[in-house]
C-alpha cells in the first residue's frame, strides 16, 4: 500500500474522524458528553476484548517466536524512559522531577493508541501476532523505570513497592493478561458465542470511545500554552523516534509487518491514565500540566492522526527491505 493511500485510509477511518469530531465538539464548547461510567466501561471492554481475542489465537504461538519480541519489549521498557529522561534533562533543561515524570509517561503505553493500532491492522487485513497483548502488558513496566529514575536521582520518590504492585495488578495488565488466558482456555469454540460482543462490536465501540478521547485531548490541549515549545517538539518528535526504534527492533525480532507496526505504536505512545496516577502519587513535585498536556494533548492526537501513517510507511519499507518484498 502506498504512503498516500495509508494516510487516506487512516485519516478517513471512522476512528480518526470520531476523534476529530470529539476535538471539534470541545472547541465549539458543545455539551456532547460520554458519561464517565460509559467511558470506563468501553476502556475495560476494549482491553478485555483484545486480550481474549489474542488468547483464542495463542494456541498456535510457540515460545521460540515469542521470546525475542518479549526481550525486545522489556529492553524498550528500560531504554525509552531512560533516553526520554536524558533528553528532557539535557535538551529541555527541566528539573529531575519533571524529567522523570515525563520519562514514566513516554516509557509506558497509551491503551487507546494501542487499541487503535490493532484496529487499523485489522481494517487493513494485516495479520499480527497473538501474543501482542503480552507485549503491551510488559511495556507497562516503563512506568516503574521512570519512577526508579526519580528515586535514584532525588533520593526519595514515595514507595516504589506500591507502584510495582499497582502496575502488575493494574487494570490494563489484568484485563489484557486475564483476557489472554481466558481466550486461550476457551479456544475457538468457546469464543464463538461471545464473539458478537467481543469481535463484532469492537470497531463501533472503539469509534464511540475515540469520540470521547477527542474531547478529552482537546480539553487538555487548552493547556498548550503552559507547556512551552520544548514540550510541543518533544511530544511530536519523541514518539516518532520511539516508534521507529520499536518497529525496527520488532522487525528484526522476527515479527510480522502488522506486529512490528503495533509494537512501534506501543513504543511511540505515552500513557495517559496509569502513568499520571502513579506519577502524581510518587513524584508530586512534577507539574501535571506538563506531562498530561504532552501525553494527552499532544502525543495522543499526533500518533492517531499523523504518526500512524508514518509508522506504517516505515514498517512497510523496512519489511520490504528485510524480507525482500511485502
Amino acid at each position: 500500500m502506498e504512503t498516500l493511500e495509508i494516510i487516506r485510509v487512516n485519516l478517513l477511518s471512522p476512528l480518526v474522524l470520531a476523534f476529530v469530531l470529539g476535538i471539534i465538539a470541545t472547541l465549539v464548547k458543545s455539551d456532547v458528553e460520554i458519561p464517565e461510567p460509559i467511558y470506563k466501561f468501553l476502556s475495560l471492554y476494549l482491553l478485555f476484548s483484545i486480550g481474549i481475542r489474542g488468547g483464542v489465537e495463542l494456541a498456535t504461538v510457540s515460545f521460540a517466536e515469542f521470546w525475542l519480541p518479549a526481550v525486545v519489549t522489556m529492553f524498550m521498557a528500560v531504554a525509552i524512559p531512560t533516553w526520554s529522561y536524558l533528553i528532557v534533562r539535557s535538551v529541555g533543561r527541566m528539573d529531575v522531577a519533571n524529567a522523570a515524570a515525563i520519562a514514566a509517561h513516554y516509557g509506558s503505553v497509551s491503551s487507546v493508541t494501542f487499541v487503535a493500532a490493532i484496529s487499523l491492522m485489522e481494517s487493513l487485513n494485516q495479520p499480527f501476532e497473538a501474543y501482542i497483548p503480552t507485549l503491551a502488558a510488559l511495556a507497562e513496566w516503563g512506568i516503574i523505570v521512570g519512577l526508579f529514575i526519580a528515586r535514584w536521582r532525588m533520593g526519595t520518590a514515595g514507595s516504589i513497592g506500591d507502584v510495582v504492585r499497582d502496575t502488575l495488578a493494574g487494570r490494563s495488565v489484568i484485563l489484557l493478561m486475564g483476557g489472554l488466558v481466558l481466550g486461550l482456555i476457551i479456544g475457538e469454540d468457546g469464543y464463538a458465542p461471545i464473539a458478537p460482543v467481543f469481535t463484532d462490536l469492537f470497531r463501533g465501540f472503539l469509534t464511540i470511545f475515540l469520540l470521547e478521547m477527542g474531547m478529552v485531548a482537546a480539553r487538555q490541549l487548552r493547556e498548550f500554552a503552559k507547556v512551552g515549545p520544548f514540550m510541543v517538539g518533544f511530544g511530536t518528535v519523541m514518539p516518532v523516534i520511539n516508534g521507529i526504534v520499536g518497529i525496527t527492533l520488532g522487525t528484526f525480532a522476527g515479527m510480522s509487518l502488522g506486529g512490528a507496526f503495533i509494537l512501534g505504536c506501543i513504543a511511540a505512545s505515552a500513557s495517559y491514565i496509569d502513568a499520571p496516577a502513579a506519577v502524581r502519587a510518587t513524584i508530586p513535585q512534577a507539574n501535571p500540566s506538563i506531562y498530561l498536556t504532552a501525553s494527552l494533548g499532544i502525543t495522543l492526537p499526533f500518533n492517531l492522526i499523523v504518526g500512524f501513517p508514518i509508522y506504517f510507511a516505515y514498517t512497510s519499507w523496512l519489511h520490504g527491505l528485510v524480507n525482500g518484498g511485502m
Binding site: 464517565e36 478529552v216 480539553r219 487538555q220 493547556e223 503552559k226 491514565i273 499520571p276 496516577a277 506519577v279 502524581r280 502519587a281 508530586p284 513535585q285 501535571p288 500540566s289 498530561l292 498536556t293 494527552l296
Partner: protein, 100 residues
C-alpha cells in the same frame, strides 16, 4: 439522648490522595468517615486526576484534639505538593461514645 459537642473536619483533596488520607485518618484513630465525589477549582492548575474529573471530600466527626492532629497531618504531609484544603466546624452529635 443529649447531643454532645464534636468537631467536623472536612478535607477536599485531589483523588489520588484518597486512600492515603483515609489510611492516615485511621492511624490517628478516627471512629469513622464519610467520603463523596466532588469537583472543584482552586489555586492549583491542572492536576493528574483533573481530566478524570474529580476530587474527593472526606468528612470525619472527631474530638477537638483529634481535629488538631488531622489539620497538622494534612498541612505537614500534603500542603506542599498537592491540591488539598481542610477546614473544621464545631457541631453537636448524638452518640458521643462512638466518636471517642
Amino acid at each position: 439522648m443529649q447531643p454532645v459537642p464534636l468537631t467536623l473536619v472536612t478535607i477536599i483533596a485531589e483523588h489520588v490522595l484518597k486512600e492515603k488520607l483515609l489510611f492516615e485518618l485511621r492511624q490517628i484513630g478516627v471512629s469513622g468517615y464519610t467520603t463523596s465525589e466532588v469537583e472543584g477549582r482552586g489555586s492549583r492548575g491542572v492536576r493528574a486526576s483533573e481530566w478524570q474529573g474529580s476530587n474527593v471530600k472526606i468528612e470525619t466527626l472527631v474530638s477537638v484534639e483529634k481535629s488538631e492532629r488531622i489539620l497538622e497531618m494534612v498541612s505537614r504531609e500534603y500542603f506542599a505538593h498537592y491540591a488539598v484544603i481542610v477546614y473544621r466546624v464545631p457541631v453537636e452529635a448524638l452518640r458521643a461514645e462512638k466518636f471517642a
